[in-house]
């Protein structure tokens, strides 16, 4: 089978990508989704807070997904559900399996990977103790409670104060459970402020910074966890160890882009984000293979996933039409507290008719700093920020004049200026 554009994943990234590709004029599009329905992780995120940027109103996850699913259906874009992609190669051949079609290989002109991310599991954080039941990743618990209508536990400790952990603290409280504490290894939360306020403070759930779970107890079912403070090197101080009785431990200890397919295709990945290294058109090191959404870097807002994916869809269609411009590329360097920047490569002859923006994360909490972009050592853009935190993505958008400055430079640097040591 031949297809112009194959989109792997029918979550928020895949849906926005498909709609934008269609609106750019492409008609030969196929979305492959492994779940029985489109919408991805949004289907289990039943809380509100989605879409404020895109729709200027606060939607729940399923409602946000519904708007995009409707957009796909109205345009008659082809999609397959319960179709799992098992391989993508450098020749842009996409192989999927499904009960309906069996094993199918598609020759695509462009592939967009919209595979999202997965949760870091227990095994990745090495907690000592028994292997009793009652230990869930927060997202698994979320699906069990919100979609399957099951109860996962009564007395709960949550490790990690990322957004899913915070949201689940409230959700478990709503379901009648007693959330005894949210335990956070770092001295700050990687979740959004608003979630700390409305998920923890509203219900007097303690948030313990610089603490971690050092041991889990209980054969059969979890009966408690031992927590301890950590020192500045994040090592537990065992003299502070404290036992908390609980039957459930939820882990919200980070998300990792799901890049098994990208690796098969030979896409070069970033050691910082775990996602592909992309240029300003969201194209990876493999020509014709694009990535966007949480498979590229983990976002804090779905609105930004949709924006980024719409750009990827548009650029993929332009690539199908015109091929990749054969031009000089500039690597975007990051320093002084900037952990990473997406894109990390700028094409000198790139198409910048729609706005160019850089998305970044910082490595720590900094106050009164200036996000600064330099071209050959000259300041192109400086954005003052009263506070930046690792939990909230930073974003700068360039004017056409600034884009000219960047394109003609031989080096580009992104830096946090005014950081006190």
């Amino acid at each position: 089978m031949n297809k112009n554009l194959v989109i792997v994943g029918g979550g928020p990234a895949g849906l926005a990508c498909a709609i934008s590709a269609y609106d750019e004029g492409e008609r030969d599009i196929l979305i492959l989704e492994r779940e029985p329905e489109l919408g991805g992780i949004l289907n289990q995120c039943i809380h509100n807070g989605f879409g404020l940027h895109t729709f200027k109103e606060e939607l729940t996850g399923p409602e946000y997904a519904y708007r995009y699913v409707k957009g796909v259906e109205e345009r008659g874009i082809e999609y397959k559900t319960e179709a799992t992609v098992i391989d993508v190669n450098a020749q842009k051949q996409v192989t999927y399996v499904s009960k309906r079609d069996g094993l199918v290989t598609i020759d695509a002109k462009a592939v967009v990977l919209c595979c999202g991310c997965r949760e870091r599991p227990r095994g990745a954080i090495n907690i000592a103790g028994m292997r009793g039941s009652g230990i869930f990743s927060a997202g698994t618990a979320q699906k069990l409670v919100n979609v399957e209508g099951l109860s996962v536990g009564k007395n709960v400790v949550i490790l990690g104060s990322g957004d899913i952990g915070l949201i689940m603290a409230r959700r478990m409280t709503f379901e009648g459970a007693n959330v005894k504490a949210v335990v956070e290894l770092m001295p700050y939360s990687s979740g959004l402020n608003r979630n700390i306020v409305q998920c923890l403070n509203d219900f007097d759930i303690p948030l313990l910074f610089s603490h971690t779970v050092v041991q889990v107890h209980g054969k059969g079912r979890l009966c408690g966890v031992t927590i301890a403070q950590v020192d500045e090197n994040l090592r537990p101080k065992m003299d502070t160890a404290k036992y908390i009785e609980c039957d459930t431990l939820l882990l919200s200890v980070g998300l990792l882009p799901e890049n098994e397919l990208a690796k098969n295709a030979g896409v070069v990945l970033s050691s910082v984000t775990g996602g592909g290294i992309v240029d300003d058109s969201m194209m990876t090191s493999q020509e014709g293979i694009f990535v966007c959404g949480n498979v590229l870097h983990v976002h804090d807002l779905v609105d930004f996933v949709s924006q980024e994916s719409a750009l990827a869809g548009q650029r993929a269609v332009q690539y199908i039409r015109n091929g990749a411009p054969n031009c000089e590329k500039i690597t975007i360097e990051t320093k002084n507290g900037i952990r990473y920047c997406v894109p990390s490569i700028l094409k000198k002859d790139g198409d910048f008719t729609s706005a160019l923006s850089f998305k970044m994360r910082v490595s720590n909490v900094f106050k009164k700093v200036t996000l600064t972009v330099f071209a050959d050592g000259v300041v192109v853009l400086a954005k003052k920020r009263p506070i930046v935190t690792p939990g909230e993505m930073e974003n700068v958008t360039f004017t056409p004049k600034q884009i000219e400055q960047l394109k003609t430079a031989s080096s580009i640097q992104v830096s946090l200026e005014g950081v006190e040591k």
Partner: protein, 119 residues
């Protein structure tokens, strides 16, 4: 002075609020007008959206997600949840269908947030 974190949007502005009644509240630290509205409500009559699930018969899954159409008074959250817990609706449902009219006398309806067809 009271310190609040605005939850109107993901910016999470740190607000400094002076005064205790609607007339004499002075807000600083807000990035936009919603911060002032939030601080006034939060000091005088805090409200929250409640999102949860209700049981559904005859659909492809046993529960369906719902929300209060508007924020309801904070002190009514758990009464509202108790009512969700006692509610069962029938498939099919569409986004926006009313699951509970005037939940806990708040004047606010609970609506379905996900369409589910009949099994």
């Amino acid at each position: 002075m009271k310190e609040l974190i605005c939850i109107s949007c993901p910016m999470g502005c740190h607000l400094q609020v002076e005064g205790e009644s609607v007339e004499n509240i002075v807000v600083s630290g807000n990035g936009c007008v919603r911060g002032i509205i939030y601080a006034k409500n939060e000091i005088t009559a805090p409200k929250r959206m409640v999102c949860g699930t209700v049981k559904i018969n005859g659909a492809t899954q046993p529960v369906v997600s719902v929300k209060t159409k508007e924020p309801i008074p904070k002190e009514k959250i758990f009464d509202c949840l108790a009512e969700l817990n006692n509610t069962t609706i029938e498939a099919p449902v569409s986004v926006g269908d009313v699951a509970i009219v005037n939940v806990c006398n708040t004047g606010v309806d609970v609506v379905v947030t996900k369409g589910l067809s009949k099994r």
